[in-house]
Amino acid sequence: MAVIIGLLVGAVRARIGKRPFLIPDLHAIWLVLVAFIPQWAAFYLPLTRRAVTTEWAATALISSQAILLLFAWFNRRHRAFWVLGLGLILNLTVIVLNGGLMPISRETLTKLKLDAPITDWQMGSRVGGSKDILLSPAQTRLEWLSDRFVLPGWFPYKAAFSLGDLLIALGAIWLLWESGGLKMNKKPNQITS
């Protein structure tokens, strides 16, 4: 959703400024593709996401995010990547400190109104095929960095997110917002003529 919002605001900015929408040149794009493969298998592919063990999922998540951090470093000349990178570091820190998955409390899970009853989830277990692990606030290291924020009730989409997720969303929007303000001599990728 952050990318969609970013594309909209960037396009509007370009239109108002009578400039083309120019996406900055990104380095080492292949790193993102390599990084995403283990996460795709562990968290997104229906065939494997519930079959992988918690340990495998944790290893996939941490190694994947470490590679993404490298990608953010290679693209640090874009200011938005400092925000993206910081968000990633915050997420990676709380994930590493809590067994390799993002901690979430029972109270926060209740607010999401999941299909399975809350009692089905055991403390310390992975929540379905997700990146989250159910932990009490007392058990969670750096609890303020965990998935503790929930989208407002009137929002049609239910999600719990962390401070790191918020920074990542803001960084993505900022990168695309800047795309609406670039000039031709910065070697961008022009998508409108």
């Binding site: 996406i23 794009i29 994947s64 968000g87 999401l112 989250d132 969303a169």
Partner: protein, 44 residues
Amino acid sequence: MKSQLFNMSVKASRLNQQHVRAALAIGTLILFVLGAGAPMTGNH
């Protein structure tokens, strides 16, 4: 006439190249956000 056609095809291929690069950049950003983020959605 030939040069006009040639110029048009060069412009078209340049535009296509730019669109492909832009799509690749946006796709990369989407994957980055999906990979770096760890939100919990209400469908697990």
